[in-house]
């Protein structure tokens, strides 16, 4: 099945390993990935402040208009923020007369046809749950990750505020989502009981003033340690980067010595599918190397 794919800015930087593993894994599961032509930034969680609500709409309208040209009904992205913005603006254009007109005018200014909001925007995880299904993932596993203990950390925007809505495909719950553990189990690894699975890392606030949000990430790491996890698995590029890069700062501030790898479920799948640890799983891009996982990878 063909999906239009929105890589998002992080795919070319801090989230490269997410992008690479996604591109490697999804076709294996029957999802053909076609990029949006000349995609741009979604505005993330600050665009409406930096530029204003309508400029933020402009960014997304352009992406959607370009996505439409691909001719696929479905669009997906692996980035939580990209998903949130694209999805929300898509709904706004579809349901809100004022927004639809604004979008049309904006697109016109760019020489584009009006866009009516008729595309369906999904998160990569929703695609796995609603379009692929765990059975298919299991089938594809050739290298089960026996003995790997994984803490499934969903984070926030991947499920909130859409996972329980019709437009979110009802693919899981806000407070106690299980899709991440399902993927872990499907890969033959062990999903440990991870209480703060939907806790927030601080998001962009963590980037701009880490000192204020370190305590949030400390708790995430503590709980993972308590649960005896070898790795933390998260679908969100910002979560992954934050939790990875601030571990040292946390150790410094709290006198701890955390060194827990944070990986993407796509990376787990790539390894479990017996694919190339570097080319497909991009494990070399984790600054805290997931050694145990790397060992399991088929050379």
């Amino acid at each position: 099945m063909k999906f239009t794919y929105y890589p998002g800015c992080s795919s070319e930087a801090t989230g490269r390993h997410l992008d690479e593993s996604t591109r490697a894994v999804f076709p294996e599961l029957g999802i053909e990935v076609e990029d949006i032509e000349d995609w741009n930034c979604c505005g993330a969680s600050v665009g409406h402040i930096g530029g204003g609500p309508l400029p933020q709409l402009a960014l997304n309208a352009r992406n959607l208009a370009n996505a439409k040209k691909r001719g696929n009904e479905h669009v997906f992205t692996s980035c939580a923020a990209c998903y949130l913005n694209t999805h929300r603006n898509n709904l706004a254009i579809r349901d809100n007369e004022k927004k639809r007109q604004a979008a049309a005018e904006i697109l016109k200014a760019g020489g584009e046809e009006p866009y009516e909001g008729d595309l369906k925007v999904h998160h990569a995880m929703e695609v796995l749950v609603n379009f692929v299904g765990m059975d298919k993932v299991k089938e594809r596993v050739t290298n089960p990750l026996k003995g790997l203990k994984v803490a499934g950390w969903v984070g926030c925007q991947t499920v909130r505020p859409f996972a329980e809505t019709d437009d979110g495909g009802h693919y899981d719950t806000y407070e106690d989502p299980h899709f991440l553990d399902d993927i872990t189990e499907a890969c033959g690894a062990e999903a440990v009981d991870y209480k703060p699975k939907t806790n927030c890392c601080g998001g962009s606030v963590a980037v701009m003033k880490p000192e204020k949000t370190l305590h949030l990430m400390k708790l995430l790491l503590e709980e993972a340690e308590k649960a005896g996890a070898d790795v933390i698995s998260t679908p969100c590029p910002l979560c992954q980067t934050n939790l990875e890069m601030y571990q040292e700062a946390i150790n410094k501030k709290y006198g701890t010595n955390f060194n827990i790898p944070v990986v993407f479920p796509q990376q787990l799948m790539a390894v479990a599918f017996g694919m190339d640890p570097v080319k497909d799983a991009a494990l070399h891009r984790n600054t805290i190397r997931a050694e145990k996982l790397e060992k399991m990878a088929k050379k």
Partner: protein, 431 residues
């Protein structure tokens, strides 16, 4: 010393039946049935449980009088015993209703009791029965023999046997133990139809499933219970013989949190206010304060809704310094490191964020109508929330009362039950 005098037997049925069917044997249904019968009408009272009394028979006390529901029920059962006009069908679950005024057909599922009317409640079957089941009377907070009297005040006073023993050695033992030929394992679930000229819906309510309140982690600890379970906990014939203790370890529950609007007033759950919860929780506070000198009770609320005459009741309890009122809808409840449940949120009056541990947390879960899933046709409607209402202005023959009609307390249920009796009488033709 009571006497029964035989009065007119059941009127001949068929088209234009004058019989009134009351669906549900809780306080509202009992009231409707008895008031109609005592006015001289034939009534069929249909109850799905093995005994009457519904929710109220499981309550410890009523607010605001702190009297025991069984007190009023006893009178109602006396009235019932003395009144041959009321025919009681227990273990009959109504599944569909069709027809029109004067001629309704009610389809009910008759569940096997495995005990017939020859039962004397001697208790021999219970003695020999080895299988135990979760006691439905105690909402599964305790075990009970599979062959049992539903509870000490059960009416009819007759045993019931859980299907699990069918085909086991227990079945043989039970059959042998009964001297009165009252045990009958050949009973099968069957569908029966009942004809009536008017119908009163008194199907009542069930507590809103606390598991749906994901942030309150009801399943994470036995010390997080709901309000109906609290009633059992405080009841002399409940799982703890009336001691309010921590279900997890039997220790005294002295520090208790009462959480209002657990499901109610929430567009994600029950949009309406369930009306009884605030007052029930005040009552629960009293249970704890009564039992422990050094009790500490915190009531988390959005609004304390002491309706009609209840304000005085609220004022009375307010003066106890051991009872604190915290205006806050807790954001999170769960099992803490110390093995005790914690409650977390924002205190709205001073905007303090809190996270406090308790011995026991009671969720004031709201009321959800039981009529859901029943296929009702004709002159009655079910609203979005599942409450049953007679069509407005229509001259129909179906009516509702008690919590089947809306979130009512007991006083409103008996009131609407009596009113429904009149409407039903008018429908079958007042004489």
């Amino acid at each position: 010393m009571t006497f029964v005098e035989r009065r007119g037997t059941m009127a001949q049925d068929g088209p234009h039946s004058q019989t009134i069917a009351v669906i549900g044997g809780g306080i509202a249904g009992l009231t409707a049935a008895l008031e109609a019968a005592e006015t001289g009408y034939d009534v069929i009272l249909i109850e799905k449980e093995p005994a009457l009394g519904g929710r109220v028979t499981r309550l410890n006390r009523y607010f605001p009088k702190f009297c025991h529901p069984t007190c009023g029920l006893e009178i109602n059962y006396q009235r019932l015993r003395k009144n041959p006009r009321v025919k009681v069908l227990t273990m009959h679950e109504v599944v569909a209703v069709d027809g029109e005024k004067g001629n309704y057909t009610i389809t009910a599922k008759k569940l096997p009791r495995f005990v017939n009317e020859k039962c004397t409640a001697c208790g021999e079957c219970g003695k020999v029965c080895e299988t135990e089941i979760d006691d439905p009377y105690n909402y599964g907070m305790s075990k009970v023999k599979a062959a049992r009297l539903p509870h000490e005040h059960a009416w009819p006073m007759r045993y019931v046997i859980d299907p699990v023993v069918k085909g086991t050695d227990d079945q043989k033992r039970i059959e042998e133990a009964c001297k009165y030929g009252a045990v009958d394992f050949s009973e099968e679930e069957e569908e029966v139809t009942i004809n009536a000229g008017a119908i009163v819906w008194a199907t009542g309510w069930r507590p809103y499933d606390a598991r749906k309140l994901e942030t309150y982690h009801y399943d994470s600890s036995p010390d997080i219970i709901n309000n109906v379970e609290m009633e059992r906990l405080a009841n002399h014939d409940g799982p703890t013989g009336g001691k309010v203790v921590r279900p997890s370890n039997g220790e005294p529950a002295k520090k208790v949190a009462l959480i209002q609007c657990a499901g109610s007033r929430d567009v994600n759950h029950l949009p309406y206010c369930s009306m009884i919860c605030c007052l029930a929780s005040l009552k629960h506070a009293a249970y704890v304060l009564e039992q422990y000198e050094d009790a500490e009770v915190h009531m988390y609320y959005i609004d304390i809704r002491a309706h009609d005459k209840m304000q005085t009741f609220y004022e009375r309890l307010k003066v106890d310094p051991r009872l604190k009122f915290i205006k806050s809808k807790p954001a999170e409840i769960g099992l803490g490191e110390d093995g005790r449940p914690y409650v977390k949120g924002e205190r709205t009056i001073d905007r303090e964020l809190y996270c406090e541990s308790y011995d026991l947390v009671v969720l004031a879960t709201g009321m959800e109508p039981e009529a859901k899933g029943v296929d009702i046709k004709g002159d009655v409607v079910k609203d979005e929330d599942g409450f049953v209402l007679a069509l407005e202005g229509e001259d129909g023959g179906q009516f509702s009362c008690g919590v089947a009609a809306g979130p009512f307390d007991v006083a409103l249920s008996t009131m609407s039950g009596t009113a429904a009796a009149l409407k039903a009488i008018q429908a079958v033709g007042a004489r």
